[in-house]
């Protein structure tokens, strides 16, 4: 029982039920796919407004002045810029 649950959790990467966490680190160069994943927006057919709203809420959470990580903040900004550019 317990051993099986632990094995299942290991194979799913941290969570036995529900969504498994994404594996690995950030990609060396930001791609459209990764940017969409970070901002949690659909890759296609997105509006400027939605990007702005998502970016704002993420930056509020991750702002370095409020104890967030600068690295994650730069990643969020990078994702927003990449999605707004195209």
């Amino acid at each position: 029982g317990r051993a099986g649950l632990v094995a299942l959790r290991k194979s799913r990467g941290g969570a036995a039920f529900g969504r498994a966490f994404y594996k690995g680190g950030f990609e060396p160069k930001m791609t459209r796919r990764e940017a969409a994943l970070i901002l949690e927006v659909p890759e296609r057919g997105l509006s400027k407004e939605l990007i702005r709203k998502k970016h704002r809420s993420l930056m509020l959470n991750n702002h370095p002045d409020r104890g967030g990580s600068p690295y994650l903040a730069t990643k969020v900004n990078e994702a927003k810029e990449l999605l707004e550019k195209s």
Binding site: Y22, G24, E34, L58, S69
Partner: protein
């Protein structure tokens, strides 16, 4: 007639073989170059099972990199907990960023664990093997 067909077959076969050898040589050279680059700076380029470099993990959690396996694990835990809760998808966070934070903590913990193992092995080599024997008398 027959000798012409035979020479053609031999020529085609040798051409295919030659091409295969050239390709395999190129592959071997490329992999050798990659291995050399990886062994040059093992700290930054070794990808663990999690596929995350130690540098990046420390940057994500915003903690000083462990020196020789020594790091403040409680600080890492605290940073992890804070960032993980900040990026909770239920509170408008991003699941992707949350995953990265979790992987960063795992990476740092793995580093500490391997350093501990190495230290234990070296201590054993220095002092000799002292197994704990329990005797029933």
């Amino acid at each position: 007639m027959a000798h012409r067909i035979i020479t053609q077959v031999v020529l085609t076969g040798s051409r295919i073989l030659g091409r295969a050898f050239a390709e395999s040589y190129r592959q071997a050279a490329a992999s050798q170059k990659y291995a050399a680059a990886a062994s040059k700076n093992p700290n930054t380029t070794t990808f663990s099972a999690s596929g995350l470099t130690l540098d990046e993990a420390c940057k994500i959690l915003n903690v000083p990199p462990p020196k020789g396996g020594e790091t403040n694990l409680t600080a890492v835990q605290e940073r992890f907990k804070k960032l993980f809760d900040l990026n909770d998808p239920k509170k408008g966070g991003s699941f992707y960023l949350q995953s990265k934070i979790l992987r960063a903590r795992e990476r740092i913990e793995m580093e500490v664990r391997t350093a501990e193992e190495v230290a234990a092995r070296e201590a054993e080599l220095k002092e000799g093997w002292k197994p704990k024997v329990f005797k029933d008398r």
